[in-house]
Protein backbone atom coordinates (compact mmCIF):
# COMPACT_ATOMS: atom_id res chain seq x y z
CA UNK A 1 0.00 0.00 0.00
CA UNK A 2 1.38 3.43 -0.99
CA UNK A 3 2.82 5.65 1.70
CA UNK A 4 4.42 9.08 1.95
CA UNK A 5 7.98 9.46 3.29
CA UNK A 6 6.56 10.43 6.66
CA UNK A 7 4.31 7.39 6.85
CA UNK A 8 7.17 5.10 5.84
CA UNK A 9 9.53 6.51 8.44
CA UNK A 10 6.96 6.33 11.23
CA UNK A 11 5.92 2.80 10.23
CA UNK A 12 9.54 1.64 10.28
CA UNK A 13 10.08 3.19 13.72
CA UNK A 14 6.97 1.66 15.25
CA UNK A 15 7.42 -1.89 14.05
CA UNK A 16 4.64 -1.69 11.49
CA UNK A 17 4.48 -2.47 7.78
CA UNK A 18 2.04 0.29 7.17
CA UNK A 19 0.55 3.32 8.97
CA UNK A 20 -2.01 5.87 7.87
CA UNK A 21 -2.73 9.44 8.93
CA UNK A 22 -4.67 9.75 12.16
CA UNK A 23 -3.30 6.59 13.74
CA UNK A 24 -1.60 6.84 17.13
CA UNK A 25 1.77 5.10 17.16
CA UNK A 26 4.71 4.85 19.53
CA UNK A 27 7.94 5.64 17.67
CA UNK A 28 11.47 4.65 18.56
CA UNK A 29 13.73 7.73 18.55
CA UNK A 30 17.11 7.93 16.81
CA UNK A 31 18.12 11.28 18.23
CA UNK A 32 17.00 13.60 21.03
CA UNK A 33 18.20 17.22 21.00
CA UNK A 34 18.31 19.44 24.09
CA UNK A 35 19.08 23.12 24.64
CA UNK A 36 19.21 25.42 27.65
CA UNK A 37 15.69 26.86 27.52
CA UNK A 38 13.55 23.72 27.59
CA UNK A 39 15.93 21.27 29.31
CA UNK A 40 15.95 22.72 32.86
CA UNK A 41 12.20 22.11 33.35
CA UNK A 42 12.74 18.63 31.87
CA UNK A 43 15.40 18.00 34.51
CA UNK A 44 12.90 19.02 37.20
CA UNK A 45 10.45 16.46 35.83
CA UNK A 46 13.07 13.69 35.55
CA UNK A 47 14.04 14.32 39.16
CA UNK A 48 10.41 14.34 40.23
CA UNK A 49 9.88 10.88 38.76
CA UNK A 50 13.20 9.50 39.96
CA UNK A 51 14.67 9.04 36.46
CA UNK A 52 18.45 9.18 36.74
CA UNK A 53 19.46 7.78 33.36
CA UNK A 54 18.84 8.48 29.68
CA UNK A 55 17.74 5.69 27.34
CA UNK A 56 20.94 5.83 25.27
CA UNK A 57 23.50 8.58 25.91
CA UNK A 58 24.94 8.18 22.41
CA UNK A 59 21.62 9.32 20.93
CA UNK A 60 21.35 12.55 22.91
CA UNK A 61 22.91 15.87 21.84
CA UNK A 62 22.96 18.81 24.24
CA UNK A 63 23.96 22.28 23.10
CA UNK A 64 23.06 25.42 25.00
CA UNK A 65 21.96 28.17 22.61
CA UNK A 66 19.22 30.47 23.89
CA UNK A 67 20.87 32.40 26.73
CA UNK A 68 24.57 31.83 26.10
CA UNK A 69 27.16 32.69 27.24
CA UNK A 70 25.36 32.87 30.58
CA UNK A 71 23.13 35.90 30.51
CA UNK A 72 22.43 36.19 34.27
CA UNK A 73 22.55 34.17 37.50
CA UNK A 74 19.39 32.19 36.68
CA UNK A 75 20.73 31.08 33.30
CA UNK A 76 24.15 30.40 34.82
CA UNK A 77 22.46 28.11 37.35
CA UNK A 78 20.50 26.37 34.62
CA UNK A 79 23.68 25.63 32.70
CA UNK A 80 25.50 24.36 35.80
CA UNK A 81 22.58 22.03 36.36
CA UNK A 82 22.71 20.78 32.74
CA UNK A 83 26.45 20.13 33.14
CA UNK A 84 25.89 18.03 36.26
CA UNK A 85 23.15 16.06 34.51
CA UNK A 86 25.26 15.44 31.41
CA UNK A 87 28.07 14.09 33.60
CA UNK A 88 25.74 11.94 35.69
CA UNK A 89 24.01 10.37 32.68
CA UNK A 90 27.13 9.82 30.58
CA UNK A 91 26.04 12.01 27.68
CA UNK A 92 29.13 12.61 25.54
CA UNK A 93 27.65 14.92 22.89
CA UNK A 94 27.61 18.01 25.06
CA UNK A 95 28.66 21.19 23.27
CA UNK A 96 29.60 23.48 26.12
CA UNK A 97 30.41 27.16 25.67
CA UNK A 98 33.24 27.51 23.18
CA UNK A 99 31.98 24.62 21.06
CA UNK A 100 28.28 25.40 21.24
CA UNK A 101 25.79 26.44 18.60
CA UNK A 102 22.13 26.89 17.83
CA UNK A 103 20.89 23.31 18.06
CA UNK A 104 19.27 23.03 14.61
CA UNK A 105 22.44 24.30 12.95
CA UNK A 106 24.89 22.37 15.11
CA UNK A 107 23.25 18.96 15.02
CA UNK A 108 23.36 18.56 11.21
CA UNK A 109 26.79 20.13 10.82
CA UNK A 110 28.26 17.71 13.36
CA UNK A 111 26.95 14.79 11.32
CA UNK A 112 24.23 13.54 13.68
CA UNK A 113 21.39 13.58 11.15
CA UNK A 114 20.83 10.90 8.49
CA UNK A 115 17.96 10.15 6.10
CA UNK A 116 15.16 8.03 7.52
CA UNK A 117 15.62 8.97 11.18
CA UNK A 118 13.07 10.08 13.75
CA UNK A 119 14.42 13.06 15.67
CA UNK A 120 12.84 15.12 18.43
CA UNK A 121 14.12 18.33 19.91
CA UNK A 122 12.84 20.40 22.79
CA UNK A 123 12.36 23.21 20.30
CA UNK A 124 9.77 23.92 17.58
CA UNK A 125 12.30 24.47 14.78
CA UNK A 126 13.34 20.81 14.74
CA UNK A 127 11.78 20.34 11.26
CA UNK A 128 14.99 21.99 9.99
CA UNK A 129 16.52 18.53 10.03
CA UNK A 130 13.87 17.23 7.66
CA UNK A 131 16.07 18.69 4.91
CA UNK A 132 17.93 15.38 5.22
CA UNK A 133 14.83 13.27 4.69
CA UNK A 134 14.17 12.67 8.38
CA UNK A 135 11.02 13.01 10.44
CA UNK A 136 12.07 15.72 12.89
CA UNK A 137 9.63 17.50 15.15
CA UNK A 138 9.56 19.82 18.15
CA UNK A 139 8.21 18.86 21.57
CA UNK A 140 7.77 20.43 25.00
CA UNK A 141 9.62 19.54 28.18
CA UNK A 142 7.27 16.72 29.26
CA UNK A 143 7.66 14.87 25.95
CA UNK A 144 11.39 15.61 26.12
CA UNK A 145 11.52 13.93 29.55
CA UNK A 146 9.73 10.84 28.22
CA UNK A 147 11.95 10.81 25.13
CA UNK A 148 15.13 10.97 27.23
CA UNK A 149 13.94 8.36 29.71
CA UNK A 150 12.49 5.81 27.31
CA UNK A 151 13.74 6.57 23.79
CA UNK A 152 10.16 6.49 22.48
CA UNK A 153 7.27 8.88 22.21
CA UNK A 154 3.73 8.73 20.89
CA UNK A 155 2.75 10.42 17.64
CA UNK A 156 -0.44 10.80 15.72
CA UNK A 157 0.58 10.07 12.12
CA UNK A 158 0.19 13.38 10.26
CA UNK A 159 -1.27 13.90 6.82
CA UNK A 160 1.29 15.13 4.33
CA UNK A 161 1.16 18.18 2.06
CA UNK A 162 3.24 18.16 -1.13
CA UNK A 163 4.99 21.30 -2.39
CA UNK A 164 6.28 21.14 -5.98
CA UNK A 165 9.08 23.67 -6.35
CA UNK A 166 9.72 24.36 -10.03
CA UNK A 167 12.42 26.39 -11.73
CA UNK A 168 15.66 27.97 -10.59
CA UNK A 169 15.92 30.76 -8.01
CA UNK A 170 16.34 34.10 -9.80
CA UNK A 171 19.35 36.29 -8.81
CA UNK A 172 18.81 38.05 -5.48
CA UNK A 173 16.13 35.55 -4.44
CA UNK A 174 16.95 32.85 -1.92
CA UNK A 175 15.56 29.89 0.01
CA UNK A 176 14.21 32.22 2.72
CA UNK A 177 12.09 33.96 0.10
CA UNK A 178 10.66 30.59 -1.00
CA UNK A 179 9.46 29.66 2.48
CA UNK A 180 8.16 33.16 3.27
CA UNK A 181 6.21 32.98 0.01
CA UNK A 182 4.75 29.57 0.85
CA UNK A 183 3.66 30.69 4.32
CA UNK A 184 2.11 33.84 2.85
CA UNK A 185 -0.02 31.63 0.62
CA UNK A 186 -1.14 28.97 3.10
CA UNK A 187 -1.18 30.99 6.33
CA UNK A 188 0.24 30.35 9.81
CA UNK A 189 -2.20 27.50 10.30
CA UNK A 190 -2.04 26.30 6.69
CA UNK A 191 -0.13 23.13 7.56
CA UNK A 192 -1.36 22.53 11.09
CA UNK A 193 -0.43 19.04 12.22
CA UNK A 194 0.76 18.13 8.73
CA UNK A 195 4.09 17.08 7.27
CA UNK A 196 5.29 19.51 4.59
CA UNK A 197 6.99 17.44 1.91
CA UNK A 198 8.96 19.04 -0.90
CA UNK A 199 9.68 17.84 -4.42
CA UNK A 200 10.37 19.33 -7.85
CA UNK A 201 13.35 20.33 -9.97
CA UNK A 202 14.28 23.33 -7.81
CA UNK A 203 15.39 21.00 -5.01
CA UNK A 204 18.45 19.71 -6.82
CA UNK A 205 19.65 23.31 -7.27
CA UNK A 206 19.45 23.99 -3.51
CA UNK A 207 22.36 23.41 -1.14
CA UNK A 208 21.74 21.62 2.14
CA UNK A 209 21.86 24.98 3.93
CA UNK A 210 19.16 26.38 1.63
CA UNK A 211 17.05 23.28 2.21
CA UNK A 212 17.41 23.69 5.97
CA UNK A 213 16.17 27.28 5.71
CA UNK A 214 13.01 26.12 3.97
CA UNK A 215 12.35 23.19 6.33
CA UNK A 216 13.10 25.35 9.39
CA UNK A 217 9.94 27.43 9.07
CA UNK A 218 7.45 24.54 8.82
CA UNK A 219 6.21 25.41 12.30
CA UNK A 220 5.44 28.94 11.14
CA UNK A 221 2.74 27.35 8.99
CA UNK A 222 1.71 25.11 11.90
CA UNK A 223 3.48 22.14 10.36
CA UNK A 224 4.49 19.05 12.33
CA UNK A 225 7.57 18.44 10.19
CA UNK A 226 9.13 19.17 6.82
CA UNK A 227 10.80 16.61 4.57
CA UNK A 228 12.96 16.63 1.47
CA UNK A 229 14.15 13.36 -0.06
CA UNK A 230 17.91 12.82 0.12
CA UNK A 231 19.87 13.06 -3.14
CA UNK A 232 23.48 13.49 -4.31
CA UNK A 233 23.73 16.90 -2.64
CA UNK A 234 22.67 15.29 0.63
CA UNK A 235 25.10 12.46 0.14
CA UNK A 236 28.03 14.81 -0.47
CA UNK A 237 27.20 16.84 2.66
CA UNK A 238 26.85 13.72 4.80
CA UNK A 239 29.97 12.11 3.39
CA UNK A 240 32.09 14.96 4.76
CA UNK A 241 30.66 14.57 8.21
CA UNK A 242 29.88 10.98 9.08
CA UNK A 243 30.44 7.37 8.10
CA UNK A 244 27.24 5.65 9.28
CA UNK A 245 25.15 3.85 6.67
CA UNK A 246 21.70 5.09 5.87
CA UNK A 247 18.78 4.27 3.61
CA UNK A 248 17.08 6.97 1.56
CA UNK A 249 13.33 7.08 2.04
CA UNK A 250 11.08 8.32 -0.77
CA UNK A 251 7.34 8.67 -1.04
CA UNK A 252 5.59 6.03 -3.16
CA UNK A 253 4.18 7.19 -6.49
CA UNK A 254 0.62 6.48 -5.35
CA UNK A 255 0.96 8.12 -1.93
CA UNK A 256 -1.92 10.31 -0.82
CA UNK A 257 -1.60 13.94 0.19
CA UNK A 258 -4.03 16.23 1.96
CA UNK A 259 -3.01 19.04 -0.36
CA UNK A 260 -0.68 19.64 -3.30
CA UNK A 261 0.86 23.03 -4.10
CA UNK A 262 2.75 24.17 -7.15
CA UNK A 263 5.26 26.99 -6.78
CA UNK A 264 7.03 28.58 -9.75
CA UNK A 265 10.23 29.59 -7.98
CA UNK A 266 11.55 31.34 -11.13
CA UNK A 267 8.87 34.02 -10.72
CA UNK A 268 9.68 34.87 -7.11
CA UNK A 269 11.07 38.14 -5.85
CA UNK A 270 12.59 38.98 -2.46
CA UNK A 271 9.90 38.73 0.20
CA UNK A 272 9.52 40.58 3.50
CA UNK A 273 7.04 39.40 6.16
CA UNK A 274 5.66 42.45 7.94
CA UNK A 275 4.50 42.58 11.57
CA UNK A 276 2.96 40.71 13.33
CA UNK A 277 2.64 37.37 11.47
CA UNK A 278 5.20 35.29 9.57
CA UNK A 279 2.48 34.89 6.93
CA UNK A 280 2.51 38.60 6.07
CA UNK A 281 5.02 38.04 3.27
CA UNK A 282 4.95 40.76 0.64
CA UNK A 283 7.05 41.27 -2.46
CA UNK A 284 9.81 43.70 -1.56
CA UNK A 285 8.51 46.50 -3.78
CA UNK A 286 5.56 46.97 -1.41
CA UNK A 287 7.69 47.67 1.65
CA UNK A 288 10.96 49.03 0.29
CA UNK A 289 11.88 52.36 1.87
CA UNK A 290 10.51 51.53 5.35
CA UNK A 291 13.00 53.05 7.85
CA UNK A 292 14.75 50.62 10.19
CA UNK A 293 16.61 50.91 13.48
CA UNK A 294 18.22 47.50 13.56
CA UNK A 295 19.11 44.66 11.22
CA UNK A 296 19.72 41.23 12.75
CA UNK A 297 21.42 38.47 10.76
CA UNK A 298 21.21 35.31 12.83
CA UNK A 299 19.09 32.35 13.99
CA UNK A 300 18.64 28.70 13.05
CA UNK A 301 16.83 29.89 9.92
CA UNK A 302 19.63 31.88 8.33
CA UNK A 303 23.09 32.22 9.88
CA UNK A 304 25.04 29.42 8.29
CA UNK A 305 28.17 30.08 6.31
CA UNK A 306 26.44 30.58 2.95
CA UNK A 307 24.14 33.17 4.52
CA UNK A 308 27.14 35.00 5.99
CA UNK A 309 28.93 34.90 2.63
CA UNK A 310 25.97 36.51 0.87
CA UNK A 311 25.83 39.21 3.55
CA UNK A 312 29.58 39.79 3.26
CA UNK A 313 29.34 40.09 -0.51
CA UNK A 314 26.93 42.99 -0.08
CA UNK A 315 28.64 44.61 2.90
CA UNK A 316 32.20 44.43 1.55
CA UNK A 317 33.77 47.85 1.25
CA UNK A 318 30.61 49.56 2.49
CA UNK A 319 29.41 50.96 5.80
CA UNK A 320 26.06 50.62 7.53
CA UNK A 321 23.78 53.65 7.40
CA UNK A 322 24.09 56.26 10.16
CA UNK A 323 22.06 55.21 13.19
CA UNK A 324 21.68 51.65 11.94
CA UNK A 325 22.54 48.83 14.34
CA UNK A 326 23.68 45.73 12.42
CA UNK A 327 24.00 42.59 14.53
CA UNK A 328 25.50 39.46 13.00
CA UNK A 329 25.27 36.22 14.95
CA UNK A 330 26.75 33.13 13.27
CA UNK A 331 24.66 30.07 14.11
CA UNK A 332 27.44 27.92 15.60
CA UNK A 333 30.98 28.30 16.94
CA UNK A 334 32.22 26.29 13.97
CA UNK A 335 30.56 28.70 11.55
CA UNK A 336 31.93 31.68 13.49
CA UNK A 337 35.44 30.24 13.14
CA UNK A 338 34.93 29.52 9.47
CA UNK A 339 33.70 33.08 8.91
CA UNK A 340 36.85 34.32 10.61
CA UNK A 341 39.05 32.16 8.37
CA UNK A 342 37.28 33.34 5.23
CA UNK A 343 37.75 37.00 6.15
CA UNK A 344 34.04 37.60 6.65
CA UNK A 345 34.32 38.84 10.24
CA UNK A 346 36.75 41.52 9.06
CA UNK A 347 34.28 42.61 6.39
CA UNK A 348 31.49 42.74 8.96
CA UNK A 349 33.57 44.75 11.42
CA UNK A 350 34.76 47.17 8.73
CA UNK A 351 31.13 47.75 7.76
CA UNK A 352 30.27 48.69 11.33
CA UNK A 353 28.48 45.49 12.35
CA UNK A 354 28.53 43.97 15.83
CA UNK A 355 29.45 40.29 15.62
CA UNK A 356 28.34 38.04 18.48
CA UNK A 357 29.23 34.52 19.49
CA UNK A 358 26.67 31.90 18.50
CA UNK A 359 23.29 32.12 20.18
CA UNK A 360 19.58 32.34 19.39
CA UNK A 361 20.00 35.80 20.87
CA UNK A 362 17.43 38.39 19.93
CA UNK A 363 15.36 36.02 17.76
CA UNK A 364 13.17 35.19 20.75
CA UNK A 365 13.83 38.38 22.74
CA UNK A 366 16.53 36.81 24.91
CA UNK A 367 19.58 39.02 24.50
CA UNK A 368 22.02 40.41 21.89
CA UNK A 369 19.76 43.02 20.35
CA UNK A 370 16.44 43.17 22.18
CA UNK A 371 14.37 46.03 20.71
CA UNK A 372 12.61 48.99 22.32
CA UNK A 373 9.14 50.46 21.86
CA UNK A 374 8.48 51.69 18.31
CA UNK A 375 11.78 50.34 17.00
CA UNK A 376 11.81 48.46 13.71
CA UNK A 377 14.13 45.52 13.13
CA UNK A 378 14.52 43.58 9.90
CA UNK A 379 15.85 40.13 10.67
CA UNK A 380 16.68 36.79 9.13
CA UNK A 381 14.80 35.05 11.95
CA UNK A 382 11.56 33.07 11.80
CA UNK A 383 8.92 34.84 13.91
CA UNK A 384 7.65 38.40 14.16
CA UNK A 385 4.76 37.98 16.62
CA UNK A 386 4.07 40.95 18.89
CA UNK A 387 6.81 41.18 21.52
CA UNK A 388 8.91 38.47 19.89
CA UNK A 389 12.16 40.44 19.90
CA UNK A 390 11.48 42.61 22.95
CA UNK A 391 9.01 45.42 23.46
CA UNK A 392 5.43 44.55 22.43
CA UNK A 393 5.36 47.78 20.45
CA UNK A 394 8.47 47.04 18.44
CA UNK A 395 8.10 45.78 14.89
CA UNK A 396 9.98 42.91 13.30
CA UNK A 397 10.20 42.28 9.57
CA UNK A 398 11.40 38.87 8.35
CA UNK A 399 13.62 38.54 5.28
CA UNK A 400 16.63 36.84 3.69
CA UNK A 401 20.26 37.60 4.65
CA UNK A 402 20.72 39.42 1.33
CA UNK A 403 17.74 41.68 1.97
CA UNK A 404 19.00 42.22 5.51
CA UNK A 405 22.52 43.21 4.44
CA UNK A 406 21.24 45.54 1.73
CA UNK A 407 18.87 47.19 4.21
CA UNK A 408 21.65 47.68 6.75
CA UNK A 409 23.58 49.77 4.24
CA UNK A 410 20.72 52.10 3.38
CA UNK A 411 18.88 52.22 6.71
CA UNK A 412 15.60 51.33 5.01
CA UNK A 413 14.11 48.10 3.67
CA UNK A 414 16.05 47.59 0.44
CA UNK A 415 15.82 45.20 -2.49
CA UNK A 416 19.09 43.22 -2.50
CA UNK A 417 18.97 43.08 -6.29
CA UNK A 418 19.68 46.83 -6.28
CA UNK A 419 22.97 46.39 -4.42
CA UNK A 420 24.26 42.92 -5.27
CA UNK A 421 27.51 42.91 -7.24
CA UNK A 422 26.72 41.72 -10.79
CA UNK A 423 26.99 37.98 -11.20
CA UNK A 424 30.38 36.73 -12.31
Amino acid sequence: MSMTMTEKILAAHSGRNHVKPGEIIKARLDLVVCHDATTPPTLVLLEKYGVKHVFDPSKVVVTPDHFVPNKDIQTAQNLSWIRRWVKQTGIQHFYDIGRHGICHALVPEEGFVRPGMVVVAGDSHAPTMGAFGTFATGVGSTDLAVALATGEIWFKVPHSLLFHLRGPLPPGVYAKDIILYIISKIGVAGATYQAMEYTGDTLATLSMEARMTICNMAIEAGGKSALMPADDVTRDYLHERMQEPYEVVRSDPGAEYAGIYDIDVSQLEPIVATPYLPSNGKFIGEVAGTPLDQVYIGSCTNARIEDLRVAAQILKGNKVAPGMRLLIVPATTRIWNQALQEGLIEIFAAAGAVVSSATCGACFGGHIGVVDKDERCLSTTNRNFRGRMGHPEAQVYLASPATAAASALTGVITDPRDVLPSKT
Partner: protein
Protein backbone atom coordinates in the same frame (compact mmCIF):
# COMPACT_ATOMS: atom_id res chain seq x y z
CA UNK B 1 -14.04 3.47 31.85
CA UNK B 2 -10.84 5.13 33.05
CA UNK B 3 -11.02 6.34 36.65
CA UNK B 4 -12.25 9.90 37.03
CA UNK B 5 -9.60 12.09 38.65
CA UNK B 6 -9.45 15.75 39.58
CA UNK B 7 -8.39 16.65 36.06
CA UNK B 8 -10.99 14.49 34.35
CA UNK B 9 -14.35 15.43 35.81
CA UNK B 10 -17.13 14.80 33.30
CA UNK B 11 -18.63 18.23 34.03
CA UNK B 12 -16.44 21.34 34.24
CA UNK B 13 -18.12 24.60 35.09
CA UNK B 14 -16.44 28.01 35.23
CA UNK B 15 -16.42 31.71 34.50
CA UNK B 16 -15.21 32.71 31.03
CA UNK B 17 -12.32 34.97 30.04
CA UNK B 18 -12.66 35.65 26.32
CA UNK B 19 -9.88 36.51 23.83
CA UNK B 20 -11.10 36.01 20.29
CA UNK B 21 -8.21 37.31 18.20
CA UNK B 22 -6.77 34.47 16.04
CA UNK B 23 -3.22 33.14 16.44
CA UNK B 24 -2.69 34.15 20.06
CA UNK B 25 0.84 32.80 20.23
CA UNK B 26 3.42 31.60 22.71
CA UNK B 27 5.37 34.89 22.52
CA UNK B 28 2.24 36.56 23.86
CA UNK B 29 1.28 33.84 26.34
CA UNK B 30 4.76 33.58 27.90
CA UNK B 31 7.41 35.89 26.34
CA UNK B 32 10.89 34.55 25.62
CA UNK B 33 12.56 36.63 28.29
CA UNK B 34 10.87 34.40 30.91
CA UNK B 35 12.11 31.11 29.46
CA UNK B 36 14.86 30.74 32.07
CA UNK B 37 12.23 30.38 34.82
CA UNK B 38 11.57 26.92 36.23
CA UNK B 39 8.94 27.85 38.84
CA UNK B 40 5.37 27.67 37.48
CA UNK B 41 3.96 30.22 39.90
CA UNK B 42 6.52 32.77 38.71
CA UNK B 43 5.60 31.99 35.11
CA UNK B 44 1.91 32.39 35.95
CA UNK B 45 2.50 35.99 37.03
CA UNK B 46 3.47 36.73 33.42
CA UNK B 47 0.79 34.67 31.67
CA UNK B 48 -0.73 36.48 28.65
CA UNK B 49 1.34 39.53 29.63
CA UNK B 50 1.77 40.83 26.09
CA UNK B 51 -1.98 40.79 25.42
CA UNK B 52 -3.40 41.64 28.84
CA UNK B 53 -0.88 42.54 31.55
CA UNK B 54 -3.51 42.13 34.29
CA UNK B 55 -4.58 38.65 33.17
CA UNK B 56 -3.09 36.59 35.98
CA UNK B 57 -4.64 38.91 38.56
CA UNK B 58 -8.10 38.43 37.05
CA UNK B 59 -8.21 34.62 37.03
CA UNK B 60 -9.93 32.76 39.86
CA UNK B 61 -9.44 29.00 40.27
CA UNK B 62 -11.84 27.11 38.02
CA UNK B 63 -12.19 29.84 35.40
CA UNK B 64 -12.23 28.93 31.72
CA UNK B 65 -10.27 30.64 28.92
CA UNK B 66 -12.15 31.02 25.62
CA UNK B 67 -10.10 31.74 22.52
CA UNK B 68 -10.37 31.89 18.74
CA UNK B 69 -8.41 30.17 15.97
CA UNK B 70 -4.97 28.65 16.33
CA UNK B 71 -4.53 29.38 20.03
CA UNK B 72 -1.00 28.68 21.22
CA UNK B 73 0.70 29.21 17.85
CA UNK B 74 4.47 29.22 17.78
CA UNK B 75 7.01 27.73 20.13
CA UNK B 76 7.13 24.32 21.82
CA UNK B 77 7.73 26.10 25.13
CA UNK B 78 5.65 24.19 27.68
CA UNK B 79 6.12 27.25 29.89
CA UNK B 80 3.08 28.68 28.05
CA UNK B 81 0.90 25.81 29.31
CA UNK B 82 2.32 25.90 32.84
CA UNK B 83 1.85 29.67 33.08
CA UNK B 84 -1.81 29.39 32.12
CA UNK B 85 -2.53 26.31 34.22
CA UNK B 86 -0.92 27.81 37.29
CA UNK B 87 -3.21 30.86 37.15
CA UNK B 88 -5.98 28.42 38.15
CA UNK B 89 -7.73 27.96 34.82
CA UNK B 90 -9.68 24.71 34.65
CA UNK B 91 -9.84 24.51 30.87
CA UNK B 92 -9.23 26.26 27.57
CA UNK B 93 -11.87 26.22 24.85
CA UNK B 94 -10.69 27.44 21.44
CA UNK B 95 -12.01 27.46 17.92
CA UNK B 96 -8.78 25.63 17.12
CA UNK B 97 -5.40 25.00 18.72
CA UNK B 98 -1.85 25.00 17.45
CA UNK B 99 -0.70 21.42 17.85
CA UNK B 100 2.40 21.57 20.01
CA UNK B 101 0.49 23.71 22.53
CA UNK B 102 -2.46 21.28 22.42
CA UNK B 103 -0.17 18.32 22.96
CA UNK B 104 1.69 20.07 25.81
CA UNK B 105 -1.61 20.88 27.51
CA UNK B 106 -2.85 17.28 27.31
CA UNK B 107 0.54 16.10 28.59
CA UNK B 108 -0.09 18.20 31.71
CA UNK B 109 -3.62 16.91 32.27
CA UNK B 110 -4.89 20.38 31.27
CA UNK B 111 -8.28 20.20 29.58
CA UNK B 112 -8.22 21.71 26.08
CA UNK B 113 -11.25 21.49 23.81
CA UNK B 114 -11.65 22.55 20.19
CA UNK B 115 -15.19 23.78 19.70
CA UNK B 116 -16.36 26.10 16.93
CA UNK B 117 -18.74 28.86 17.86
CA UNK B 118 -17.95 29.33 21.55
CA UNK B 119 -15.61 32.28 20.94
CA UNK B 120 -18.34 34.03 18.94
CA UNK B 121 -21.13 33.68 21.49
CA UNK B 122 -19.35 34.06 24.84
CA UNK B 123 -18.72 37.28 26.74
CA UNK B 124 -16.26 37.77 29.58
CA UNK B 125 -17.84 36.72 32.84
CA UNK B 126 -20.34 34.26 31.31
CA UNK B 127 -20.77 31.00 33.19
CA UNK B 128 -19.89 28.01 30.98
CA UNK B 129 -20.53 24.33 31.59
CA UNK B 130 -18.50 21.73 29.68
CA UNK B 131 -20.01 18.25 29.57
CA UNK B 132 -17.26 15.89 28.43
CA UNK B 133 -19.42 12.82 27.94
CA UNK B 134 -22.22 14.65 26.12
CA UNK B 135 -19.71 16.69 24.10
CA UNK B 136 -21.43 19.98 24.81
CA UNK B 137 -20.50 23.43 26.05
CA UNK B 138 -23.42 25.28 27.53
CA UNK B 139 -23.38 29.03 28.17
CA UNK B 140 -25.54 29.19 31.31
CA UNK B 141 -25.65 32.98 31.21
CA UNK B 142 -26.88 33.22 27.63
CA UNK B 143 -28.60 29.83 27.13
CA UNK B 144 -26.47 28.91 24.09
CA UNK B 145 -25.16 25.39 23.51
CA UNK B 146 -22.34 24.24 21.23
CA UNK B 147 -21.23 20.69 20.46
CA UNK B 148 -17.73 19.38 20.01
CA UNK B 149 -16.35 16.08 18.72
CA UNK B 150 -15.50 13.77 21.63
CA UNK B 151 -11.91 13.67 22.81
CA UNK B 152 -10.18 10.56 21.52
CA UNK B 153 -9.74 7.59 23.85
CA UNK B 154 -6.01 8.17 23.80
CA UNK B 155 -6.34 11.80 24.91
CA UNK B 156 -8.87 10.84 27.58
CA UNK B 157 -6.46 8.23 28.89
CA UNK B 158 -3.69 10.81 29.33
CA UNK B 159 -6.06 13.32 30.94
CA UNK B 160 -7.50 10.66 33.25
CA UNK B 161 -4.02 9.82 34.50
CA UNK B 162 -3.38 13.51 35.19
CA UNK B 163 -0.89 13.85 32.34
CA UNK B 164 1.67 11.90 30.35
CA UNK B 165 4.25 11.49 33.11
CA UNK B 166 1.89 9.85 35.62
CA UNK B 167 0.67 7.61 32.77
CA UNK B 168 4.20 6.56 31.79
CA UNK B 169 5.96 6.56 35.17
CA UNK B 170 3.21 6.23 37.78
CA UNK B 171 3.48 8.14 41.05
CA UNK B 172 6.27 10.72 41.38
CA UNK B 173 9.23 9.60 43.53
CA UNK B 174 9.98 13.16 44.67
CA UNK B 175 6.67 15.02 44.48
CA UNK B 176 8.03 18.05 46.32
CA UNK B 177 10.48 18.86 43.47
Amino acid sequence: MPPVTQSHHQIVRGRAHVYTRPHINTDEILPGRYLALTDASEMARHAMETIDPGFSQKVRPGDILVAGEDFGAGSSREHAVWALKETGLAAIIATSFARIFFRNAINNGFLVIECRGVADTTQCGDELEIDLSAGTIQNLTREVVHSFPPLSDFVREILAAGGLLPLVFGEPRNPEV
